[in-house]
């Protein structure tokens, strides 16, 4: 434990870290700058929800009528006239039957069975959303998809990806440092010896966590100074205005969450799951670095581990190798890819409810065990 401090100092001496952080902030600010166009309307909707609640009901419409004539008011009133109870008659099983069952997991009866069960359970969730009148939530009216994309598909996803890159860089750097500087012999024959890799992993984790937290805080502060969501935080994420484009469907389907989330709740839960995945990736990149030994090899292996599942998904789907396709959906990369659709029906990419949560829950202990196995192997392995 005493070595964690010195290992942290070694990491903080690396100037590339600060260049990387600077580049990330620049990228994030650029992304935020180019998300423009709907700030005024979103701000207006947020204030209206603060005053009149988030449900499109008589009270809400009455409040709108009392407001000064304004293009933003007109737009919101027009949007609200299109709002309705879509979950009353929504049948998730029919959706699955029509568009998913014949396309995916054909020839894999167990998986097809899981798919069907999933849509049956989704119906139960739809009923809960209906009971909460989630569909009547204003969210951001016809700017809802824009807000969700900015928040989750652009900014949070960028931050998550940056976190993964940062962890990779710091872990590979610290684990490979001794070989790079030819200090491995004197370092690993010291009293602490090869157990030092545990201190290195913790040090890399602490520095990564601090840097990632810094990136998140600064980026989100800037984002929320540009996008003032106000009352939208208390709107329901499964609003009728919130649609998901799925290539398998000729229509946009609703944002069907397994539980009823406010936007704030969905955001917080996404951050929590993102944190767990970052911890998982810390363990994975530590395992890779310890097993590869060499910095360049470790970096390539980590990059391959991160990128290959995305290609494999397409490959397995084309060849209709459904078991590998499905198992691949549990990979960390696929989870990041679908980050903006977490806790919803993910079409063919999810066969059990809350699959992303189960994935993270499985990855964490598995990679923790594999990390300790890698350390044990390293302790018994010759260094030269």
């Amino acid at each position: 434990m005493k070595l964690i401090g010195p290992e942290i100092k070694k990491l903080l001496r690396n100037q590339t870290l600060y260049l990387f952080m600077g580049a990330c902030l620049l990228l994030n600010f650029t992304v935020i700058a180019f998300t423009g166009g709907e700030h005024d309307f979103v701000n207006y909707v947020g204030k209206t929800i603060d005053a009149a609640g988030d449900q499109v009901n008589a009270a809400f419409l009455e409040y709108l009528h009392t407001q000064p004539e304004d293009p933003l008011r007109s737009r919101l009133m027009e949007n609200c006239s299109g709002a309705g109870k879509i979950y009353d008659s929504f049948d998730a099983v029919e959706m699955g039957k029509d568009w998913y069952y014949d396309e995916y997991y054909t020839g894999a009866p167990f998986l097809t069975g899981l798919l069907m069960k999933k849509y049956e359970r989704l119906n139960a969730s739809v009923q809960r959303l209906n009971a909460d009148s989630a569909d009547l939530s204003v969210y951001a009216a016809d700017a809802t998809n824009k807000v969700h994309d900015v928040l989750f598909a652009c900014v949070l996803k960028s931050l998550l990806a940056e976190g993964f890159l940062l962890i990779t860089f710091l872990t590979v750097y610290t684990m490979g440092m001794e070989r790079q500087s030819s200090a491995a012999a004197i370092v690993y024959c010291s009293r602490r010896g090869r157990s030092l890799v545990k201190d290195k992993m913790i040090a890399a984790g602490i520095v990564s966590a601090c840097c990632i937290l810094f990136l998140y805080v600064i980026t989100l502060l800037v984002l929320f100074s540009v996008w003032n969501l106000g009352g939208i935080w208390d709107a329901n994420a499964a609003s009728c205005f919130h649609k998901v484009r799925d290539d398998n469907l000729p229509f946009d389907k609703p944002f069907l969450t397994w539980a009823s989330f406010t936007v704030k709740g969905y955001f917080t839960t996404s951050l929590l799951l993102g944190t767990v995945l970052l911890a998982v990736w810390q363990l994975i990149s530590s395992c890779i670095s310890i097993l590869c030994g060499h910095s360049a090899k470790s970096f390539l292996a980590a990059a391959a581990a991160l990128i290959s599942p995305c290609f494999l998904s397409v490959f397995f789907a084309k060849l209709e190798l459904w078991w590998p396709f499905y198992l691949n959906t549990f990979s960390v990369s696929m989870l990041i890819l679908h980050q903006h659709l977490w806790f919803t029906d993910l079409g063919a990419y999810e066969l059990i409810p809350w699959q992303e949560v189960w994935s993270a829950a499985i990855h964490l202990p598995v990679w923790a065990i594999l990390f300790f196995a890698a350390v044990r192997r390293f302790q018994r392995k010759e260094l030269f």
Binding site: K2, L3, G5, P6, K10, R13, E178, S181, S182, A183, A184, A185, I186, V187, Y188, C189, S190, R191, R192, G193, L196, E382, L383, F384
Partner: protein
């Protein structure tokens, strides 16, 4: 006491060391052999960086792998290629090494100051090591090996790459290092150890040839080493070891079983032993 019992080290089909048996007690041991003989292989095994294919290495009767941290706590090691962090000063680097060796901050401060004085680096203690010469780097290496006041000090080719001045400085330092510990020093430079080693270990054909005091090793060549002026005809079979300049001109130092005419008998030294024992390897090269 450090015991190396029937240790063999193989890398695939290549045998680096075969059936090595040595016991080390307090004193300075010089491991003398040409490049590629297995010196570094043995040093690395003693430093727990690699492991024997067969046999065992014991510290006070217990396998060093079993002792683990307890063994490494009494060990000081200077490898052949001493790596360091270029942007660290010696003081910063030694503080890091002290932390690795489990030495507390205050104790480390005192020890580091003492060691920096000892290796004559006090004036450069806070300069970045990327500005240092090879000799200065090596002195930092020795300092880090001594941080934990080791009972077992292993130095692998510590004078490699040093200029004569630095080598003389190192030899002087080594005299003071011996004390109450086991010092194992590997080299292919005879002058590094001939005056300070209590025992010399010779490796040949990946096996231990002998482990004796220098005087005893040299005594084996008594009456067989001669010097003769270059150009003299020598009728008896002989082998030239090397030539040197004297006031009388150039002389050849030769090895011969019989006393050559016109030659002067000289006392054999460790260099002679080295050249004779490893002459086959010289011829191959």
């Amino acid at each position: 006491m450090l015991s190396v019992n029937n240790v063999t080290k193989k890398y695939g089909s290549f045998t680096a060391l075969e059936n090595i048996n040595i016991e080390f007690d307090r004193g300075v041991y010089g491991l003398l052999a040409p490049n590629g003989a297995g010196k570094t292989t043995l040093m690395r095994m003693l430093a727990t960086l690699s492991f024997p294919t067969k046999g065992e290495i014991l510290w006070n009767g217990t396998d060093i792998r079993q002792l683990d941290e307890e063994y490494r706590n009494i060990l000081g090691f200077l490898p052949q290629q001493f790596g360091y962090y270029k942007n660290y000063s010696p003081r910063q680097f030694l503080h890091y090494m002290a932390a690795l060796k489990g030495i507390g901050r205050r104790a480390a401060d005192q020890k580091i100051n003492t060691l920096l004085e000892r290796v004559a680096l006090m004036d450069s203690a806070d300069q970045k090591m990327k500005q240092f010469s090879g000799g200065m780097i090596q002195r930092v290496g020795i300092a880090q090996a001594l941080l934990n006041d080791p009972e077992l000090l292993i130095l692998d080719e510590p004078t490699a790459g040093l200029d004569p001045k630095e080598r003389v400085r190192f030899r002087s330092m080594l005299h003071s290092l011996a004390g109450d510990r086991i010092v194992i020093l590997s080299t292919h430079i005879v002058s590094d150890i001939e005056t300070i080693a209590d025992k010399i270990l010779l490796l040949k054909d990946h096996k231990l040839l002998c482990c004796e005091a220098p005087a005893k090793i040299c005594a084996a060549l008594r009456d067989r080493v001669f010097e003769v002026p270059v150009g003299n005809r020598i009728k008896t079979p002989y082998e030239v070891l090397y030539e040197r300049q004297t006031d009388m001109g150039t002389v050849s130092r030769i090895y011969s079983e019989a006393y050559p005419e016109g030659a002067v008998k000289v006392s054999p030294n460790l260099e002679d032993v080295f050249l004779i024992v490893y002459r086959d390897e010289r011829k191959e090269k």
